[in-house]
């Protein structure tokens, strides 16, 4: 199952709830303001690191670049993908949950 999160983890608890309620081996894609959840050195970094042992996490490159961020800003093991990859993930996964 693919989960997308598009809200900043510092403003809303969407990411936190998503990670709490996500089945093992799911895929989590951070988009729009959700990309801030992939930053290292934040107050929620430990929560994200912990979740990375259960789920695969991606972040959408164009949204990252728009915010002045790149792979050096990110927690290790979070992969940057483009729009084509996003489409592929959407096709590969039978269901999608959007955590708004």
């Amino acid at each position: 199952m693919l989960h997308t999160v598009n809200k900043s983890p510092f403003e809303k608890n969407s990411l936190e709830t998503c990670l709490r309620l996500t089945e093992q081996d799911s895929t989590v894609l951070l988009i729009e303001d959700g990309v801030y959840g992939a930053l290292k050195g934040t107050k929620i970094e430990d929560l994200v690191l912990e979740s990375l042992s259960n789920v695969k996490m991606y972040v959408l490159g164009p949204d990252l670049m728009a915010r002045g961020l790149d792979k050096n800003s990110l927690i290790n093991n979070i992969e940057i993908i483009d729009y084509q990859d996003f489409v592929k993930l959407a096709v590969e996964n039978e269901r999608i949950q959007n955590w708004l």
Binding site: S8, E32, E45, P62, A66, G68
Partner: protein, 127 residues
């Protein structure tokens, strides 16, 4: 701290920015309002708190999301005599962002200094 000029009264304006850029229109709209305020020769300060600090992140490139890269406007604020940009240190720390990561010169201040800034302002607009 009011002084009379030909055009009227000058007040201490504080624009409080607490939203990340791009995800919503707030940050962009705030900048538009700041520029209008500056045209009326008011005493303008901007505060960046919570996700608002992300507005100032350098190297923003919005080509991939087809929106206006308004972050460049921050460098032009000086020309409108908007020179007082205050960033709350606690907000930077929580987000792993350092002063060096910011695109413009700002004054990084503590929560207690921010409290004082807000208290001393006469007109406060929140975005």
């Amino acid at each position: 701290m009011e002084e009379e000029t030909q055009s009227g009264v000058i007040k201490k304006f504080l624009y409080v920015n607490r939203r990340a850029p791009h995800g919503t229109i707030y940050a962009h709209e705030a900048l538009e309002v700041v520029l209008i305020g500056a045209a009326f020769e008011q005493d303008v300060s901007m505060a960046f708190i919570d996700d608002g600090v992300f507005q100032l992140k350098k190297d923003q490139n919005t080509d991939g999301i087809d929106t206006k890269n308004f972050s460049k406007t921050f460098s032009a604020l000086e020309m409108y005599d908007v020179e007082k940009l205050y960033v709350e240190k606690e907000s930077l720390d929580e987000r792993g962002i350092k002063e060096d990561d910011l695109a413009v010169d700002v004054k990084v201040i503590s929560s207690s200094e921010m409290k004082k800034l807000i208290t001393e302002s006469e007109v406060i607009l929140n975005f």
